[in-house]
Amino acid sequence: MSDKTAAVVGSGIVGTAVAHHLVQHGYRVDVYEKGPEYPYPHAQPFLEKTRYLYSNPAYRLPADIRRLTCTGDYASNVDNERFMLVGGSATRWQGLTLRMLPNDFRTKSVYGYGLDWPLAYSDLEPYYCRAEALLGVSGTDADNPFAPPRSKPYPLPPFPLSYGDTLIAERLRAGGLVLHTTPQARTRNAYDGRPACQNFGMCSVCPIGARYSPTHHLAAAVNTGRCTVHANVSVRRIEVDGSGRARAVVCQRNDAKTPVERPADVIVVAGGAIESVRLLMLSSSAGHPGGLGNQSAELGKHFTFHHVWYGELHYPTPLYPARFGGATGQSCQFLEPPQRGKHGGIKIEFSATSEYHRLREIREWGDRAAILEQLRPMLHWHPIALHAESVPGPDKHVSLTTERDRFGDPFAHVHYRSAGFDHATREFARELLQRFAAATGADGSKFPDTYDSGAHHMGGCRMGHSAADSVVDPYGRVHGTSNVFVAGGSTFAGTSGAVNPTLTMTALALRTAAFIVDQL
């Protein structure tokens, strides 16, 4: 057991994975979260969302702490994609947990685009297994011929396809297309103190903890007596001495007048891609003039979103979608398409979240038949999400803006503009949508004009072997420092990958945590 201390900045799925691991190995851990507390299990937020249709402002960090500015062509509000509270964005995620493919880590050498990672799939594979065990992933690869190799089975059996997805899968099979089950951090059976899923359906806020929420392990870490979660506390900078050793984090309660220094033996930055870049930049000093790890001026670059198009297919007969809260059917058949390199790979998801239906509203009331007519389209329109990989580039980066938060620190600025590769991928997505429409007998389809990030932000603190072209080493240690680490999605080195990135972020976090325990 160790008697060392760690400061973890950010309490999301990455920060929690690191904190939980360090606590298990005897560290005393302080987790700093600038956002408010969020009760777990999320029964009260669930009631507010589903029964009272109430968006509780208590769970929203004030704008003068959380804001950012944005330029480019991204149509959605990036700030709103971040749930800055205890547990982070994964308190409200859909819970899909796919692994990236071996070739996703070497797109440059295999396909000629993006950058190769400084680690291979085989390096990360054991940590994928650990991440799946931590999150309690239900799944199987038996029906997915495109799944990457694995050394251990999934911890839990899969969720079978829904009735609608089964019908779609049969039609696709006749056309040579594959729809398979979806690995997800949702308990098929009781697991690790979490009950089995009961299919409440509003999975973005699971009332019983069946869909994994980081607060589960955060609570477990706190219960050991060696972990403290400091909610409503903003870390403003990291103090690093001339030798490159970090001494402390400088933090401030959101309602306090002055900051305080909190010493730690090791500091792990896990604030998400945008805030992690910001914190390293705010930690500039004479020895680190452009911010920590920024000798190469690469800090904030190699930033990318996941590109997701939420389309719809219309079927003449009703499929009764959304009888299961998560996604059951998806296709990894096009993660490595023949033209990969000219455009990106795509994962197709027949998602049927209930939120989709909740967007509908009725305008005519007082007449049952008229109401039914307004609702009936729900039965025939089936959502289809096309998740694409995107490449970093000169028009995608994070920096600091001139606007300042309540403490006087500059906010982050995100500049994001799609590149030619992204446009080509969009056309491929459109083509796939039509192919899936034809194969499944859809008589109508919608493809959106704009993409969505899926709230997946990657990179900005790219990992690499050299301080000349990256911010952190392959274990997440910030170049030029001995005990400052960046964990999770910020360290993505190549493309975004086409699959949902959260499992990869968690695996990277566990790899960083294991390195800290073993090597420091």
């Binding site: 249709l53 359906g201 009888r323 239906h357 609702l375």
Partner: protein
């Protein structure tokens, strides 16, 4: 002579139009501001905010009238418990709702008494529907603007009662009306979703 006057008139009109256009162009920052203010005024008129008032328990009469209003709005037999829970929670937790619901019930009763001589909840479906026509306010209609100027409470009722009841209905009983076994938010188990839905009588 007439031809010369016509030409002059045409020139005058063209000059006027040109000058007017130039003036508007020069004053565009101000005209933009005026339009924005007018638009803001319209918005505040037709989307009146809920007054902040004390939270607290709803009286039985208000709950009775609200339930009668739900039945009339959705024109379908629904289990009232989740609507009652909704109204009760909002009245007890969100400032302004208790006062809103009490006032809504009082005004419906008043309108029903004027129309039929009885309370709103006691009237038949047709009577209640006619009373509720007062909150059938389409955005952008002249009637909505007139109501906003004369009696904005009805706009509040439309926005914070009627729309919210319909939103709750769409998320709950609307699913059953379509033929689903139940709605998201209730534990549905891991078996039913893999089988064809057992179509309910509502979905006919």
């Amino acid at each position: 002579m007439r031809s010369s006057l016509t030409r002059r008139r045409v020139l005058t009109v063209l000059t006027g139009v040109a000058l007017g256009g130039m003036t508007l162009w020069l004053l565009r920052p101000w005209t933009r501001g005026i339009l924005a203010r007018l638009s803001g005024r319209y918005e505040s008129l037709t989307h009146p905010a809920l007054a902040r008032a004390a939270t607290g328990a709803l009286g039985p009469r208000a709950l009775q009238v609200l339930q009668a209003a739900v039945s009339t709005l959705v024109d379908t037999a629904v289990e009232m418990s989740h609507y009652v829970e909704y109204f009760t929670w909002r009245a007890e937790n969100l400032p302004g709702y208790r006062q809103l619901y009490e006032e809504f019930a009082r005004r419906l009763d008043l309108a029903a008494a004027r129309r039929d001589g009885g309370g709103f909840a006691e009237g038949d479906a047709e009577s209640r529907r006619r009373v509720l026509q007062k909150v059938d306010l389409q955005r952008g209609s002249l009637r909505t603007v007139v109501v906003a100027l004369i009696d904005p409470d009805w706009l509040r009722f439309e926005q914070y009662v009627v729309r919210e009841v319909l939103a709750l209905f769409v998320r709950t009983d609307g699913w059953v009306l379509l033929g689903y076994e139940t709605w998201p938010g209730t534990p549905r188990g891991l078996d039913l979703y893999t089988r064809p839905p057992s179509i309910r009588r509502h979905a006919a």
